[in-house]
Structure formats: structure tokens, C-alpha cells
Symmetry: C2
Subunit: 197 residues, 2 copies
């Protein structure tokens, strides 16, 4: 077989795999592991029932794979927050907007689902245990403290404030994913009022 054709085939294979992964991510994030049927993923991806099994071993494998990717992405988003340009408030706004964009939203919700459901594949369970949400918040605290020093943020326990803020954002995503598709990105400034004075 000519190596050109082989490379093309491989690319096609990877593309389809991504297509299925993307569809699965959306459905898993919205409905959770148990709430997601393989038929839903197939429908979302516009393919037939059985085809996913040419690309993945099982439903659990897809889920675990996505959870690992999601954790990786969350990690990166939090890691980068300090190096975003602008004031602490602007950093936090940028971070929040990034969380709320379609892709990250789904990742974020997926982890949420994985954390709060039972029957999660052990591989995903382990990945989640490795990833501690405490770290997430702790990495954000310096931003918040700097905001306080510069007088932009409200006084008080930074840790609790951040938990509140993150919970609100997560909660909103959860809401939004289930119910109507309102565009919260416009409301981020109102949300930031939770942290500012």
C-alpha cells in the first residue's frame, strides 16, 4: 500500500475518533455516565449504533479517556491564570470566560459528573483522586490576595470566597447545560461582583 494512502487512512481514522470523542464529551457532560446511552453518542456524532466499537473498546474506556483529558485541561487553565495579562480582576474574568466556553465547559462538567456519580470506571476514579480541587483553589489564591492588596477585591477569607465563586460558576454551567441555553458569558461581570467590593 502506498504510504500516502496509508497516511490518509490514518488521518481519517483519527478524525472519526475525535468526532466520536467530541460527541461523547457533550453527552457525558450533560447526562452523566449512567444517563448517557451509546445510542445517544452515536446520534450526536451522526453515526450508527455499533460504529463506536471500531474506535473504542467500551463506553467506560471513552469516559475514562475523556476524564483524563478534562483534568489535563483544567490543570492548564488554572496553571495559566497567573500569567494572563491585566489586573487580578481582568485575569479572573479571562479565566472565567475561558471556563465558560463550550469546550472547557463540557470538560469541567464531565469532571463534576465523574466526581459525584457512582459506577465510575476505576481508571477515571484514580485520575480524579490524583487531581485535587484544593490545588485548584490554592493556585488561585495569590491572584485574589493581590486583588485585595490593590483594593479591588473584598476583604475576608480568600479561600471561602474562591470556593463560593467557583461553585457559582460550576453551578451555573450545570444549570445551563441542562436547561435553556442562555449565554452567561455576558453576565460574567455581574458574577465577579461576588468577589469585588
Amino acid at each position: 500500500m502506498p504510504r500516502i494512502a496509508r497516511a490518509q487512512a490514518e488521518q481519517a481514522f483519527d478524525e472519526r475518533k475525535d468526532q466520536i470523542k467530541k460527541a461523547a464529551l457533550k453527552i457525558f457532560a450533560e447526562k452523566g455516565l449512567a444517563g448517557t446511552k451509546m445510542s445517544m453518542i452515536a446520534e450526536e456524532a451522526g453515526i450508527s449504533q455499533g460504529l463506536s466499537y471500531r474506535y473504542f473498546q467500551s463506553k467506560d474506556e471513552i469516559f475514562a479517556l475523556l476524564v483524563e483529558e478534562a483534568i489535563e485541561e483544567s490543570r492548564n487553565a488554572v496553571r495559566d491564570i497567573g500569567s494572563l495579562p491585566g489586573s487580578p480582576l481582568e485575569q479572573l474574568r479571562a479565566f472565567t470566560l475561558r471556563l465558560l466556553d463550550e469546550n472547557h465547559k463540557h470538560y469541567f462538567l464531565l469532571v463534576q459528573q465523574a466526581q459525584t456519580s457512582e459506577g465510575v470506571p476505576s481508571q477515571a476514579r484514580e485520575a480524579i483522586q490524583r487531581y485535587s480541587p484544593q490545588d485548584t483553589i490554592e493556585q488561585m489564591i495569590p491572584i485574589f490576595v493581590r486583588g485585595q492588596q490593590e483594593g479591588q477585591f473584598a476583604e475576608g477569607d480568600a479561600y471561602k470566597r474562591l470556593i463560593l465563586f467557583l461553585s457559582v460558576v460550576t453551578g451555573l454551567m450545570l444549570q445551563d447545560a441542562k436547561a435553556m441555553g442562555m449565554d452567561w458569558t455576558q453576565e460574567v461581570d455581574s458574577l465577579l461582583n461576588i468577589l469585588t467590593k
Copy 2:
């Protein structure tokens, strides 16, 4: 049978019924209709698998019953908001605190679940259709507008602001119910910053 004994028996019957209902409410609110197994309700109530069926016809019956009660309660909470004492802000704070207390929280989440799940018993579905969330917000708008007139609340579209606020509160409850049991009541003032200026 002496009427004393009969009355006692009836009371015992009702008490057990309430016990099961309360357990069911908690689990349904947390896990949703499909996510709730009858065995979970039994465990929460501290009774055996089968006993619920002496007090209720079916899982669906319990669910529908609870949804109707929940709607009734939500209605009342919203109806009363205008007649609470104090400034608009204080009214809203009192209202929010009421929503966040254990009982109302579970009711609120139950309706949320019923609205966003499939396979909801028709009786519950109909009750929910009768109860429009639009009304909820519309009944709250006067409070908000008065707050704006008195300069306490931020300018802007009252409707959107209220949706945001209610979504945040609902989202928080959803979060809280699943994950850790942080006491949000202390954070309500931060939340109200979403609405104030």
C-alpha cells in the same frame, strides 16, 4: 376497635408515610428520578426494601406527590416575598435564606430535576407545566424595580438579572447537595452582590 387505638394506628401510619416521603424527597432531589433506587429510599428511611409499598402504590406515585408539594411550597415562598419586612434587599436576603434551608432546598432541587429529566410521570409533568417559572420571576420583578428606584440595586434588565441570580442560587444548591456540605447561608450576602451595585 376502640376509637383511641384506631386513631393511634392512623397516626402511626401517617408518621411512617411522612418518614418515607422525607427520605424520598432527599434522595430524589439529590439523584433525580432515574438515579434514585427504591432501595436508597428505604435505606435513608431506615426501613426494609419492600415496606414503602404498603404506603405508596409506586415509585412514580411518590415522585409525583412530592413534585406537587414542592410546587406548592415554591409558590408560597415567592408569593410571600413581597410581604416580608424590610428593604427590597432584606426581602431578597430573607427569601434566599428560606430557599437555602434544608427542606426548601430539597423541594427546589426536586422541581429542577423534574424539569430537566425525561421519563417523568405524567402527573408530575402536568403539575410542572401548570407552574411556570416565568411567573416566579415576574412576581419578583417589582421587588427588584423598587430596589433600583431606591438606588440599592444595579441598573439594567431586571429580568435577566433575576434569572442570573436564581440560577446561581439553584446552581449552588445543586452543587452543595452533591458535593461537600458547606454552609452557604453565610455567603448569601456575597451572592446578593450580583444584584446590588
